[in-house]
């Protein structure tokens, strides 16, 4: 078996300084291969964005300390010098942000921004880069790409802007694209189109995609594998079909129930009581225990380890979960 494109082992991110320092992400370990779409799911504050940014060390600095190991294409990312890191960003790992309006430069034409990324990374000369930018805009499905390349971001609609943002992410032909809530700001009819675009780009370029989202509908739409984060840790990882059919962690099941919006017999929506803990409030036991319906005495004192469970028929994809009393039966 070949080594995966990205291997993450024991990745921990501490944010803040001094007494205010908190561990936002603890002991993260996962792989992503070429041609694969991995969804990282969690509520706000679960550490999903911190984890994604840590992969290309975007949140490292006085207020952010990273430890553990990130291997990208065999390169140890956490030990790279600044110059090599600059090459990695964009050419190795690129990001697409949620709010394209805020991420794009409002004063520069869309085509120029994309071309600039290529020139800065030394991939191309200007005229060639500018031509390539138009080709990229065509690839992401913008009609009349030559004309659109000469427009400013505010002249595009929300969906078009997100497509331009994806084109910018693809500019230096990265091996891994990280998309952080790429469709949250979009209307539902446009959302499906952008997801379809991401899926086709991954297949065409044989690249890897990490999709960060809180929306299980988005996960079901295009992900191959799901990784659920809660309070900075992975609580479950499974192939997407298995995840929705037979989640083992109570948090996964509760989220799936909350997402399939329907009133119960008493005329209420399914919900998860309480809210996620703040990083400084997490105790020794399972972080989900205070909200969990099947909590038992040991849950509040023992933190369950993330363990691999063999499953049949999922093409060798592991099913991992961290729960002392996992759910045994499939979801109806």
């Amino acid at each position: 078996m070949t080594t995966p494109l990205l291997q993450v082992r024991g990745l921990t991110a501490r944010l803040g300084t001094g007494a205010a320092q908190v561990t936002a992400v603890s002991d993260l370990g996962f792989d992503v291969g070429r041609g694969e779409i991995l969804a990282i799911v969690g509520e706000s504050g679960s550490g999903k964005t911190t984890a994604a940014m840590a992969l290309s060390r975007l949140n490292e600095g006085p207020g952010g300390q990273l430890s553990g190991q990130v291997l990208f294409d065999g390169v140890d990312v956490l030990s790279l010098n600044r110059r090599a890191l600059r090459t990695l960003r964009g050419q190795g790992i690129a990001m697409v942000f949620q709010d394209a309006r805020a991420a794009l430069n409002p004063c520069e034409r869309v085509g120029d921004q994309i071309a600039e990324a290529m020139v800065v990374h030394g991939a191309r000369r200007w005229t060639q880069a500018r031509r390539q930018a138009v080709a990229l805009l065509a690839e992401v499905g913008l009609p009349e790409p030559e004309r659109r390349a000469t427009l400013f971001p505010h002249e595009l609609s929300g969906g078009q802007m997100q497509r331009a943002m994806i084109a910018l992410g693809l500019a230096c032909d990265p091996g891994l694209l990280i998309a952080d809530e790429p469709t949250t700001a979009l209307d539902v009819t446009v959302q499906a189109q952008v997801l379809a675009l991401l899926k086709s780009v991954v297949a065409r370029r044989n690249m890897a995609l990490i999709l960060i989202t809180h929306d299980l509908g988005v996960v079901a739409s295009i992900a191959d594998r799901v990784l659920v984060m809660y309070a900075g840790r992975i609580v479950e990882e499974a192939e997407v079909g298995r995840f929705f059919a037979a989640p083992r962690h109570p948090y996964s099941r509760d989220m799936i129930r909350a997402a399939s919006i329907a009133l119960d017999a008493s005329g209420r929506l399914a919900t998860i009581p309480g809210r996620p803990p703040r990083p400084q409030d997490i105790g020794d036991g399972c972080a989900y225990a205070p909200r969990c319906a099947q909590r038992q005495a040991d849950c509040t004192t023992l933190r369950p380890a993330l363990t691999v469970h063999p499953t049949a028929g999922d093409a060798g994809l592991p099913h991992r979960f961290a729960c002392l009393h996992p759910i045994a039966e499939a979801l109806s």
Partner: protein
């Protein structure tokens, strides 16, 4: 059966587009006729720019109405002045989308509530206790009174905004995307709270949302908007099961389901459909505004704007070729 609590008759809202000598106005809300019945939960659904928030604000006269009539409980409020509107405001309240910007960051929660109570004439001695009762009703404890909004999470802030809306003991609440800024698990909590309060107090509620899946689950009637117009109104279960307008059907099909088979079919259909060509309010199309995206569109759709008329399945639809 009593008459509607609120009704709009050909109500129109226009926004000014600045531009010096080329200044003009656009019809953000085309002439709209709609009744909100006593005690119902009416949902207004549409994508961004569809005019759903404009409609919600026009209902409460938070915006000047350019034409037509708005009636609240038998009173014509279309042309009411500030003072007269201010006297009516306690009976109709609004909950906004973003609980981070709808609460004054410098006012404690207690102060935000007692000010409203003072406005509706609650004696000073009772205000504090009433504020604490309101907070208890939305699931917050009395200590919240002394704290500033920044001490609370998004879901808790939205609870405070709900308590503030309830402080005047209103008959009608218009909630504009009250849960879209919240996490999924918290969304359901806040929706349940609104449903409980509505049942306990016999409130009439207008729930504005972009999420057709959510509103068809909780509302009695759903009103679908596109391009500043109502394109379909009907009972929630009918809208979900058998939509009459092609746009409603498109929205129904686009809701991403947490179900692998259904969600993949949605994405596959979207990649076949290609990129939509959206109409512009500055340069409105002739005929039906939805025709550029409509699979059923024919010649007549470009010539004549369809009116909102009853159709066989019950409810109203504005389409030349409604789905059976």
């Amino acid at each position: 059966m009593t008459g509607p609590l609120l009704s709009l008759h050909d109500a129109t809202v226009r926004y000014a587009v600045p531009g010096g000598w080329r200044a003009r106005s656009i019809a953000a809300l085309a002439p709209t006729t709609l009744d909100v019945h006593q005690g119902e939960l009416l949902a207004i659904v549409g994508e961004s720019g569809s005019g759903k928030s404009t409609l919600g604000r026009a209902m409460l006269r938070l915006l000047p109405v350019a034409g037509g009539k708005v009636t609240f409980d038998g009173t014509d409020i279309t042309g009411l002045g500030r003072a007269a509107l201010s006297a009516l405001r306690p009976r109709m309240q609004m909950i906004f989308q973003d609980p981070y910007s709808s609460l004054n960051p410098n006012k404690t929660v207690g102060r935000a509530l007692t000010e409203v109570l003072a406005h509706v004439g609650v004696p000073r001695a009772e205000r504090r206790e009433r504020a604490e009762t309101l907070l208890a009703q939305v699931g917050l404890d009395a200590q919240a009174c002394a704290r500033l909004p920044r001490a609370f999470s998004g879901g808790q802030r939205q609870r405070i905004a709900i308590a503030r809306a309830l402080a005047t003991d209103p008959d009608l609440i218009v909630a504009d995307e009250p849960v879209s800024a919240l996490d999924v698990s918290v969304q359901a909590q806040v929706v349940n709270l609104l449903l409980d309060l509505k049942a306990q107090r016999g409130l009439t509620m207008v729930f504005i949302s972009h999420d057709l899946g959510l509103v068809t689950a909780i509302a009695q009637r759903v009103c679908v908007m596109y391009f500043g117009r109502i394109v379909e109104i009907g009972l929630a279960d009918k809208i979900a099961a058998r939509p009459a307008h092609p746009y409603t059907a498109m929205l129904n099909d686009s809701v991403p389901q947490p179900d692998v088979v259904a969600a993949r079919a949605t994405v596959a259909a979207a990649s076949r459909a290609g990129v939509a060509d959206l109409p512009s309010l500055l340069n409105p199309p002739t005929g039906c505004a939805f025709r550029s995206r409509c699979p059923q569109a024919t010649g007549i759709c470009a010539q004549q704007e369809p009116g909102l008329v009853p159709h066989a399945g019950g409810g109203l639809v504005a389409c030349h070729h409604p789905l059976a």
